[in-house]
């Protein structure tokens, strides 16, 4: 049976913002939403906001929402719900006790698992990466990891979903649907797989992530797509990627305010459209590279955001989907390991519900199967670390210490054998003798690639029923331009 390795009830926690500081960020955010406003370039969205008490500047498409209204609608968001999977054992309860890891998105190039060649991504790549992600216990849910660039732009997001559903029963959170038309089709597709719209509402096998448009704005298509998702009961989140120095203040607290205003204003809109609908906070704030102006991914600022954001989403009592593992490294190397370990550590230390980002390099642009396995190993290390240290009679082991006494050893003791499998075991870390290593001078990268090749050869999860697949393809074809 398939298993998912979540990090549950971690024993380690981190103090990053005091309650007073969170309230200051919240108050500053309400001030910005009420007095500066947020741009909602969608007539539908603005009409909803206006009808619920926002002051709308139609020429600028900016809504200024009074703070009390923001607070009132945020309270409607359910604090706890479940991301369903096609296989109920793979369901992911977002109950504040678990952190789950998902793949990253949405890359445009891939390092081929067999040839190592760097090339543009296709639908077949989406399918294959999904097969590997399906195999990995560390990966709890799929993002659309890479773009199906051989499919038409107007239906690409749906082909990506279909490719994942063909090979995996894990929950899918898509970030690539940006129009009302595609979202309606996606709802239809997901309904088909679970047996109808009401069933989908009960068992949302699909959740939706839309990006905000920093600073203080949204994309019209993403808003309209989000409103369709909210009405269908699909968990919907808005992700800010506010970057210090370009589309957010250079200071971290200022960035949090801008990003927070974007996210909560969108969640408020969702609650206005469908009161009580499941929503989540999503974020991947960062800082631009000050020498190039580019998004790079990784670094101290990202780590701080990774921990701080969950404190803020907890304040609003909504789950968080947090961008982590988003290294700017070009290869699965030292930089990638540092970035991805620390960003994941920080996000888990405040118990972010969903972490995104396994498998991509170069600021979420290039998929590497090696990185996907290495990121899973990082997750496994964290899973073991966050269990912390258990202090009880059995673990204090005074009797065992007494028995072995000064100068003895514990290697052959039954107590050792009993507990040794609680220890974390590496699959990619090199702990061999030096001379063995010298023979081939190989390591994590080579081993990860071999594992990826094996999985691609051997892991063929039960494919989607051909009739269902044909139905999904029919829905997709219906929105394609002839």
């Amino acid at each position: 049976m398939q298993k998912i390795k979540s990090i549950s009830n971690p024993k380690i926690s981190l103090n990053i913002l005091t309650q007073e500081e969170v309230i200051r960020i919240h108050t500053a955010t309400l001030d910005v939403i009420e007095t500066v406003g947020v741009r909602f370039p969608s007539k539908n969205a603005l009409e909803v906001l206006e009808a619920h008490g926002a002051i709308v500047d139609w020429s600028k498409m900016v809504a200024r929402i009074p703070g009390y209204i923001v607070e009132e609608y945020l309270k409607m968001a359910p604090p706890v719900y479940t991301l369903s999977a096609l296989e109920p054992e793979l369901d992911l309860p977002l109950d504040g006790h678990h952190s789950y890891l998902g793949t990253d998105g949405c890359g445009v190039e891939i390092l081929d698992a067999f040839t190592g060649e760097l090339r543009r991504t296709t639908k077949q790549d989406v399918r294959e990466v999904a097969r590997v992600a399906d195999y990995l216990e560390a990966i709890a849910f799929h993002w659309v990891p890479i773009s199906a660039q051989d499919c038409p732009p107007e239906s690409r997001s749906l082909h990506e979903l279909e490719a994942i559903w063909e090979v995996s029963k894990k929950h899918v959170q898509t970030e690539s649907i940006v129009t009302e038309r595609e979202m309606s089709a996606a709802v239809e597709m997901a309904s088909l797989l679970v047996g109808g719209r009401e069933e989908l509402r009960k068992r949302p096998i699909l959740s939706i992530m839309e990006c905000t448009f920093s600073p203080l704005g949204h994309d019209g298509g993403s808003l309209e797509a989000g409103m369709i998702a909210a009405q269908a009961g699909l968990p919907i989140g808005y992700m800010t990627m506010a970057s210090c120095g370009s589309n957010a203040p250079i200071t971290l607290a200022g960035n949090l305010v801008v990003g927070n205003a974007e996210v909560i204003a969108a969640l408020v809109l969702m609650e206005m459209v469908a009161p009580g609908c499941p929503v989540y906070y999503a974020a991947a704030q960062t800082a631009i590279d000050l020498r190039t102006g580019s998004y790079t991914g990784g670094g101290a600022e990202d780590f701080l955001f990774g921990a701080a954001t969950n404190v803020i989403s907890d304040f609003y009592q909504v789950p968080l989907s947090m961008g982590a593992f988003a290294t700017g490294a070009k290869e699965p190397d030292w930089q990638a390991a540092v970035d991805n370990s620390l960003s994941a550590f920080m996000a888990v230390s405040t118990l972010a519900d969903m972490l995104l980002g396994a498998g991509l390099l170069h600021g979420s642009r290039i998929l590497s199967y090696e990185m996907l396995f290495m990121d899973s190993e990082i997750w496994n290390i964290l899973e073991a670390t966050f269990k912390g240290i258990v202090v009880d009679d059995e673990n204090l082991a005074i009797d065992v210490i007494r028995e072995v006494g000064p100068g003895g050893n514990f290697l052959g003791h039954r107590h050792t054998r009993k507990h040794m499998r609680e220890h974390w075991q590496p699959t990619l870390m090199d702990r061999r003798p030096y001379e063995i290593w010298q023979k081939n001078r190989d390591g994590a990268k080579e081993w990860a690639r071999i594992k990826a090749q094996q999985v691609l050869h051997e892991h063929n999860p039960q494919p989607l029923d051909v009739k269902l697949q044909a139905e999904l393809l029919r829905i997709i074809a219906s929105i394609e331009k002839s």
Binding site: C106, V108, P153, R156, S246, L290, T292
Partner: protein, 216 residues
């Protein structure tokens, strides 16, 4: 003292004080210094110092952008004066730039436009969500040497190909160099759609633009 005020102009650019650059430029003109001298002995040395500090890693991008703002404020004062004297500064080329239809991402494109301007290019920034026909009209109107096309989404990248095709159809492709950029854009994409230049960041874009104009 003419030399003193010119070195103050230089310093104001290095210090990132565009308003002071603007005031000093007015003052220098009023004191009878020729506009061409203000440019060559006040502004250019300042931009060069900023550029050198950036290249050595001491200055960051905001230093460049703020200096470019100072330069622009000064040039807005000086350009009418140059015209009145029938003088002109040599420009490496004319660029039309914008984000393609369907895409509203602005920051990267604007940064490239700013950096090109700061390097002497005459830049026409058409903004975001620019229809193909608007690009073509502007290129004809200003006799552009280079077109810069930005796209931030995998779904709007395809518009870069369409604009290039439209240029071919209109018989404008021969005389125009096309540069493409944006997060999902790669060199292989540039080759596939038949563009002439591509860079990953704004400074790279300036280098490519200069190469396309035959300036090293």
């Amino acid at each position: 003292m003419p030399t003193e005020i010119l070195s103050e102009i230089t310093q104001s650019l290095v210090d990132g004080e565009p308003d002071i650059t603007y005031e000093l430029t007015h003052k220098a003109l009023a004191s009878g210094i020729e506009p061409m001298s203000i440019i060559r002995e006040g502004l250019m040395p300042g931009m060069n110092i900023v550029g050198e500090n950036f290249a050595s890693g001491e200055f960051f991008l905001p230093d460049l952008i703020i200096a470019a703002e100072g330069m622009k404020k000064a040039m807005d004062v000086l350009e009418p004066e140059l015209v009145a004297r029938q003088q002109a500064i040599e420009s490496p080329g004319t660029v039309v730039i914008g984000t393609v239809k369907g895409d509203i991402h602005e920051i990267g494109k604007t940064l490239v436009a700013t950096m090109l301007s700061a390097n002497g290019f005459k830049v026409y920034d058409l903004g975001v969500d620019v229809p193909t026909a608007v690009f073509l009209d502007k290129i004809k109107e200003v006799q552009a040497n280079i077109l810069g096309l930005s796209a931030l989404l995998t779904t709007t990248m395809t518009m870069q190909r369409e604009v290039i095709q439209a240029l071919r159809d209109a018989g404008m492709r021969q005389t125009l160099r096309v540069m493409v950029g944006g997060a999902p854009v790669t060199r292989s994409w540039m080759n596939e759609i038949g563009a002439d230049g591509y860079a990953e960041d704004a400074m790279g874009a300036v280098k490519v633009a200069k190469e396309l104009m035959g300036i090293s």
